[in-house]
C-alpha cells in the first residue's frame, strides 16, 4: 500500500516534468526547462524510494536519494530566482 504512494509521487513528478519540457519547447522560457529538470530529479527521488523499500530492503539508499532530491530543488531554485526576478 505504502509503495503505491511512492509510485504515485514518481508518476506525478514525471508527468510534471514532461508537461514542463513540452512547455519549454513551445515557449522557450528557460524557467520551464529548469523546473522540468527539477521534477525529473524529484521523480528519480521517488523512484529511488520505491526501489529502496521494495527491491533492496537491506541496503539504504537514503544518501543517494537525498542528494538527488537536493540537486532537484537547487536546480528549481536557481531557475526560479535567476529567470523570474
Amino acid at each position: 500500500m505504502v509503495e503505491l504512494v511512492y509510485l504515485l509521487c514518481a508518476l506525478t513528478s514525471t508527468g510534471c516534468a514532461l508537461l514542463l519540457l513540452r512547455g519549454y519547447f513551445r515557449a522557450r522560457s528557460r524557467l520551464l526547462l529548469w523546473s522540468s529538470l527539477c521534477f525529473m530529479g524529484l521523480s528519480a527521488n521517488n523512484i529511488l524510494l520505491f526501489v529502496d523499500m521494495l527491491l533492496v530492503p537491506n541496503l539504504s539508499l537514503e544518501i543517494p536519494r537525498g542528494i538527488v532530491g537536493l540537486g532537484a530543488l537547487l536546480v528549481l531554485l536557481f531557475g526560479l530566482i535567476w529567470e523570474s526576478t
Binding site: C9, C16, S60, I63, G66, I67, L73, L77
Partner: protein, 89 residues
Amino acid sequence: MSSDALVFFLRGALALGAAVAGLVFFRFWKRTRDRFFVFFALAFWLLSINWLALGLLAFPTETRHQVFVLRLVAFVLIIVAVVDKNRRA
C-alpha cells in the same frame, strides 16, 4: 562526516530548499492571482515539513515512517493544481 550526519544534513537542506521554493510559488500567486500557485506553494511547504520532521524526529530511515503521508498529500496537491488548471482552461 559520518553517514548519519550526512543524512540529517541532507534532510535539513531539503527542508530549507523546499520551503524557499514554496515561497517563490506563493509570490507567483501574488503576482498572477492564479490559484494554481497556491496549490504548488502548499505542496512544497508540505514537502519541507516532511523533510523537517524526518530530520528533527531523527528517524534512522525514511522508508519506514508515517511522515510519508505528508509527501503523499503534497503530490496530491500538485495533481489537484493541474486538474484545476485544466478545468479552468
